[in-house]
Amino acid sequence: MRAFTTLTYRQIKRFSNARSRVVGSFVNPIIWLVFFGLGWSKVFNFPMAKQIFGGVDYLSFLAPGIVAMTIFSSSFISGISVIWDKQFGFLKEILVAPSSRKAAIVGRIVGDSLTSLLQGIIILLLTFTIAESLSPSGIPYVLFIGFILAVGFASFGVSLALKMTSMEGFQMVMSFLMLPLLFLSGAFYPISAMPSWMQILAHINPLTYAVDGSRYFLIGTSNFPIAMDIGILALLSLIFLGVALYLFERATID
């Protein structure tokens, strides 16, 4: 499948060519990890605190969440390049090509997922330097979960971008969704501590299962069984991927 590998190559090449994007993508998670994480870890520095956070210190509790957040936000925003391509014409190049559109869009999503995953890896390694109870043997599993998450939200971003005409519009929808999805994912505080109406929302949030699954492999405790985390996350990602395929197959130029 040449179209698949070509588009994967293109997305990775675009990412590595844009140095400011590479640097920028690390700033946000680092701010959360350092200013938010280090700050609260001092507040939760009393004997009972570890019980709230599944038996580990707050930074170790937070770390899997920050990794998932990094992958989530960078894969989501990668969809915006579809709008860019619409405006600057590269989309037409794909739409008039004889190759399979399905292969092209999956290639694109995989390419964006890989760059998001790379950012996740770097943040993950960084968390090991400041959080004390993370298990290194969990890293490959976390990357596996991270990849499923990235495919899901890159697909979501692509689908959204295919329906939108302006980058401002995309960014508006994104900033509207981003924080609620993060706060409802259990990345910052345990789901079990949320009011019940919030718990319901947390249960339908794909990010919840990525955070919970990562936590299982990094600190050994989780809210849901691990099979359920991976199963639900994979199912939701497949649905988003299906929607992206469906929309791209029908895409025309305006």
């Binding site: 040449r2 179209a3 590998t5 070509t6 588009l7 190559y9 293109r10 090449k13 675009r14 060519n17 844009a18 391509d85 405006q87 600057f88 014409g89 590269f90 037409k92 190049e93 794909i94 739409l95 008039v96 090509a97 004889p98 190759s99 092209a104 025309t252 130029i253």
Partner: protein, 327 residues
């Protein structure tokens, strides 16, 4: 001779605007065929339908032997397109743009690398192959676009305003590439333009399109015969709407700008006789001009408007040019 493109009663309606009305034409293999018309006449919409980007509302067409409705995939394999605005990835190098295009069209390996080198040399961009396209001038980007469209050796090349917004020198170079490629590979070329001189010079046959309809088609010479051998424009005092009634005037049209258009055999002889006539019939000529008919005169003759006077679209055009330059 076989036809590479056959278009039958193509219609495209967007909402309540009919962009293309019942357009039909045929293009022979190896021919350069031009769609000439003002901005917004339906040229790009027609190209978009023929290149399978937009589905026709009614009618059908065959391109390189395949039906655009039933076999869009096959059509896409046979065509190359230079869009009115860029289809390049501005954030990648010229070489990567070519590489990605080639691979999407199923090429790969050394054969592809050699072909890319050859085409970049052809459009004189070899030195710039490692440069990011964003840094290219409008002319360089267009040359790259042409090289890209030629990479998969298409049977039919679509060029939508290939020289829009370029300086005269670059325009000439681009036409050299196009005619050279056509001769070497016997490509069929469909182009749209609103530069009359280009259509006249390079197209073997022309269709003039206005408000979505083909209002005339034929060779440039045949089209110009519609106006006459020479054309005289006359402005008469008091704007009298009366035709000059004389044997040497072959046709006579009132233009909306008060001028009278006269088709004559020989303008040099006709003008003195017009003044004689003016004296006899007591009307006063306030302005007279004449020239050999151009396609612009044909357009003026058929529609009463100059081809370039479409005001509403000049903004669109500036936008397209700006976008293409990427600034």
């Amino acid at each position: 001779m076989e036809n590479t493109i056959e278009v039958e009663n193509l219609v495209k309606i967007f909402g309540d605007i009919t962009a293309v009305k019942n357009v039909s034409f045929k293009i022979k293999k190896g021919e350069i065929f031009a769609f000439l018309g003002p901005n917004g006449a339906g040229k790009t919409t027609t190209i978009n339908m023929l290149t399978t980007l937009v589905k026709p509302t009614e009618g059908n067409a065959r391109v390189a032997g395949y039906d655009i409705r039933a076999d869009p995939q096959k059509v896409r394999e046979k065509i190359g397109i230079v869009f009115q605005d860029s289809s390049l990835d501005r954030d990648l190098t010229a070489y990567d743009n070519m590489l990605i295009h080639g691979r999407i069209y199923g090429y790969g390996g050394t054969a592809l690398r050699e072909k890319i080198g050859e085409l970049l040399r052809f459009v004189e961009l070899e030195k710039f192959k490692k440069k990011i396209v964003k840094t290219f001038s409008g002319g360089m980007a267009r040359r790259l676009e042409i090289a890209k469209a030629l990479l998969h050796e298409p049977e039919v090349l679509f060029l939508d305003e290939p020289t829009l917004g370029l300086d005269p020198q670059t325009r000439t170079r681009i036409w050299e590439y196009i005619t050279q490629m056509k001769e070497e590979h016997e490509m069929t070329i469909f182009l749209t333009t609103h530069y009359m001189d280009e259509a006249e010079q390079f197209a073997e046959r022309i269709a003039i399109i206005d408000h979505g309809e083909i209002i005339a088609k034929g060779t440039p010479d045949k089209l110009k015969k519609k106006v006459g051998s020479d054309v005289v424009y006359l402005t008469v005092a008091n704007g009298k709407k009366k035709c000059v009634d004389a044997a040497f005037v072959k046709n006579c049209t009132f233009l909306p700008d008060e001028r009278i258009e006269l088709g004559v055999e020989n303008a040099g002889e006709a003008i003195p006789r017009l003044f004689e006539l003016a004296e006899q019939k007591h009307f006063k000529i306030v302005n007279v001009s004449y020239h050999k008919p151009t396609l612009n005169d044909v357009f003026l003759h058929l529609t009463g408007r100059e081809i370039r006077e479409e005001r509403g679209d000049s903004f669109e055009m500036v936008r397209a040019v700006m976008r293409r330059r990427g600034r």
